[in-house]
Amino acid sequence: MMDDDFIPVRLSVNGVPHRLFVEPRRTLLDMLREDLELTGTNAGCEHGSCGACTVLLDGQSVRACLLLAVQANGHEVMTVEGLARHGRMHPLQEAFWEKQALQCGFCTPGMLMTAYELLQQNPDPGEEEIRSALSGNLCRCTGYQHIVEAIRLAAQRLREEAEAATPSETTA
């Protein structure tokens, strides 16, 4: 392979800046997994059907298998590895664990990223809204019920956290 077949890409992943050279045919998914060794994001169908590869690009969910790595140049990517804070699991991850919202776990990274985006937009989604948001993420194990429950639990905890962080007017 000749050097000029590789294109420089600068991007930030989970807040960490990276600079690397990739072939234009490299998908964002393969760059994350192979070049940056962030294997949390899973490669399922690799043609946009399963949602296992869902990551956030500038805060919006995208399918990493349907983006070229070079297209992420200058952008911010967030993967499932970016959910935990200060060594503590994100409330979504904790809720998935407690509610047994995973069996084989293959769909889980995509589910978590999709749910993360949903809760950013809608802190108190109903069951229908959760199911609709997850409609692009396939799970072959759980039957989805526990995933929906986990997201509701996480949503509740995040709301409580947010309330605790902003003391109400009357107590101030």
Binding site: D5, I7, E23, P24, R25, T27, D30, E46, H47, G48, S49, G51, T54, L57, Q60, S61, V62, R63, C65, L66, L67, L68, V70, Q71, T114, E117, S132, A133, S135, G136
Partner: protein, 293 residues
């Protein structure tokens, strides 16, 4: 499951893109949102020699008002169509239909122009373009030409785009007063391609009768389909269930041979086309009446 090699270009202007198309020859492909092309690349069903990525061309992503209607850049993303206040105010049909395209993670990338140029017969937006009587601007290094949506879709995954041309703008004329629209489709799962979909626009006359109806369907023919016979049936009638039923019958009897596959038989799609036509017309008429009151 990995794309074959290709040369990659990310021009910043339309002129650069058309020049690249000329230089790179017939095997080059344009890349817009990539939500249809990337699967084809990954599966190596498409092996272009070069990809010309349009995503860096800022001047292709815009929504402007124009003579009561809209002009949209081809790179406008479906998620934007869903949420844009100007689209909601002037062409709510486009916002309603865009919501049916795939899933949020798809719509954050997929583009209006990409969907039109890809011309999947099951796609929603080509049918919407017929119902809204859109015209498209196609730009090449030789200049611009304008083409009506009705002449653009020539077959399954085939359009009037010639090599060297880029679809740059979509012009949607404004609707007459007392107009309402609706898009409905049926899919087995949310976000899947529809088994049938209907775009309806109704404009009412002063006396409350139907001045004009426009109907277009997806997923029931090799191209998006304008249901001209049903539109004629509706003209001058009272907007009521009898009229919707007559239109639905005209739609169904006009269908040639809808696809038959594991997702649904031709007969089932015919049935859906009739039911969705009735419902979409009724909803469009209701909205037309409400727009007046």
């Amino acid at each position: 499951m990995k794309p074959a090699r290709f040369r990659y270009f990310a021009p910043h202007t339309i002129a650069e893109a058309t020049q690249l198309l000329d230089e790179q020859g017939e095997e080059a492909r344009l890349l817009a949102g990539g939500q249809s092309l990337l699967p084809l690349l990954n599966l190596r069903l498409a092996r272009p020699s070069a990809l010309i990525d349009l995503n860096e061309i800022q001047s292709l992503a815009f929504i402007h008002p124009q003579n009561g209607g809209l002009v949209l850049g081809a790179l406008t993303r479906d998620a934007t169509l869903e949420r844009d206040p100007l689209v909601a105010a002037r062409q709510p049909l486009l916002a309603e239909a865009a919501h049916y395209v795939g899933h949020p993670a798809i719509r954050h990338r997929s583009t209006l122009g990409g969907s039109l140029a890809h011309a999947d017969p099951a796609a929603e937006l080509p049918a919407v373009m017929l119902a809204l009587e859109a015209t498209f601007t196609l730009q090449s290094s030789n200049g611009n030409r304008t083409i009506a949506a009705a002449a653009f879709f020539t077959g399954p995954f085939q359009t009037a785009l010639q090599h060297g041309e880029v679809l740059t703008e979509i012009h949607l004329p404004g609707l007459p007063p007392r107009s309402g629209s609706a898009f409905l489709e049926f899919a087995r799962r949310e976000g899947d391609y529809a088994l049938a979909g209907v775009a309806a626009v109704i404009s009412l006359a002063e006396d409350g009768t139907i001045a004009q109806a426009r109907l277009a369907l997806c997923s029931v023919d090799p191209t998006p389909l304008r249901a001209a016979a049903a539109e004629t049936v509706l003209r001058g009638r009272h907007p009521d269930n009898v009229a919707w039923q007559a239109a639905a019958e005209a739609v169904v009897s006009d269908l040639k041979e809808p696809p038959s596959d594991i997702h649904g038989s031709a007969d089932y799609r015919r049935h859906l086309a009739g039911v969705l036509t009735r419902r979409a017309l009724a909803l469009a008429a209701q909205r037309a009446e409400r727009s007046h009151s």
